[in-house]
Symmetry: C2
C-alpha cells in the first residue's frame, strides 16, 4: 500500500529498544481516509489470495481497532476486539490468555468473549503490527477455543526481521501485510520500508 509506505517514510521514527514510533498515523493519531483505505486494501489483498469473504474480523485493543473496523466496513461484516484488561462486564463466556506487550514493557492478559465470536465462523485476524507473531498466535488460539476458524492474518505494518511469519506458519492461512519494515536503525533513524507481501 504505497500511501502507507510514503507515510511511514515521512513520519515513522525509531526509538531505543527496537520500537517503531508510528503515533502520528497508527498508534495515537489517525487519518480516517488512510485508515479506511487500509481496510479496502486488506479485503482486496485477501481476495487476491483466494480467501473467500470471512464472517468476522477479530483484533486486539487498542491500536488494532481502527484498521480492523475499516476492514470490517470493507467486507460489511462485524468486528470483535479482544480486551487487554478484562472488563467487569465480561461474564463466564470469556476466554483468556497471556501475551507480552512490547510497547508497554510487561505482560498483558488478552480476553475474548466466546459468544461474541461464535462457532463455525470464518475469522480474519487484523492487527496494527505483525512483529513476533506472539499476540496473533494467542488470539488465534482463543478463536479456535471459541469453535471458529482463522482464515487469514493481516498486519498493517510487518517487521520483517522479527520473523513473525515463521511463527504464524502453523496456522496455514494467507498472511497479508500492507507495509513491511525490513530494517531500522536506532543510531541513524533509518527505516527501510516497502509495500507488504
Amino acid at each position: 500500500m504505497q500511501a502507507l509506505v510514503d507515510t511511514i517514510r515521512r513520519e515513522a521514527t525509531v526509538l531505543p529498544g527496537g520500537l517503531l514510533k508510528v503515533d502520528s498515523f497508527l498508534n495515537h493519531r489517525l487519518d480516517p481516509a488512510l485508515t479506511l483505505a487500509m481496510g479496502e486494501h486488506f479485503a482486496s489483498r485477501f481476495q487476491d489470495q483466494g480467501v473467500a469473504a470471512p464472517d468476522l474480523i477479530v483484533t486486539v485493543e487498542a491500536s488494532g481497532i481502527a484498521p480492523a473496523l475499516a476492514t470490517a466496513a470493507a467486507y460489511q461484516i462485524p468486528m470483535v476486539y479482544a480486551r487487554k484488561r478484562r472488563p467487569l462486564t465480561m461474564g463466564d463466556g470469556a476466554l483468556e490468555t497471556t501475551v507480552p506487550s512490547r510497547t508497554k514493557g510487561d505482560m498483558a492478559t488478552v480476553t475474548l468473549d466466546a459468544e461474541a465470536v461464535g462457532t463455525n465462523r470464518r475469522v480474519l485476524i487484523i492487527d496494527d503490527f505483525l512483529a513476533s507473531g506472539r499476540t496473533i498466535m494467542a488470539v488465534a488460539g482463543l478463536i479456535h477455543k471459541s469453535g471458529s476458524d482463522v482464515v487469514g492474518v493481516g498486519g498493517v505494518i510487518e517487521k520483517g526481521f522479527e520473523k513473525g511469519r515463521d511463527r504464524l506458519a502453523e496456522l496455514r492461512v494467507p498472511i497479508v501485510a500492507l507495509a513491511c519494515v525490513d530494517a531500522m536503525d536506532e543510531q541513524t533513524g533509518l527505516v527501510q520500508v516497502r509495500e507488504g507481501d
Copy 2:
C-alpha cells in the same frame, strides 16, 4: 438515533453495580454500519447545534476509538485517541491525568500527546459513554493544556441519571448524546432508553 435505541433495547443488559453491558455492539463487538452511522449522526447533530466543523476529534481508548473514528470520517478530519496506559513510544510532549474507571474498577492514567493535538485547534470530544462526565472533563483538561479549545462533547450513550451534563456545564459547549438511558434496574433488567439530546 433510533437504530441505536432499538439496538440498546434488544441487546443491552444490566449488571450488578450499575453497569450497562453493551458488549455486543459498542464495547467488544461492533457492527461497522451502525458505528459509521453514529459518526454521521454526531456530525449532523453538532451542525444542528451551530458547531462549525472542528479540526480534530479526540477520544479515549479503547471503546471510544470506533465512534470517534466514525465521526472523524464523517467530518474528514484527523482523530486522536488518548491512551489509558502510557506507551513507551510516547515522549516528553505527553500530558497525563488520572480518572476512575467504572468497568475496570480502579484508576486509570490518561495520556495525550500535546503535539498530536496541536495548538489553537477546535476539538470535538467523542466517547462511548457520557456518564459521570469525569473522564471527559479530564480529557478536556489535557486538550486545554495542549493549547487547543473544546468546541463540543458527544457521547454515544448517555446515562442521564449520572448527571454528567452538570459536570460538563462549565465547558460551555454543546453536548450531544445519540441515546439516553434514563433508568435501569438490576433486578428486572429493565433499561429505559430514548433518543439522546
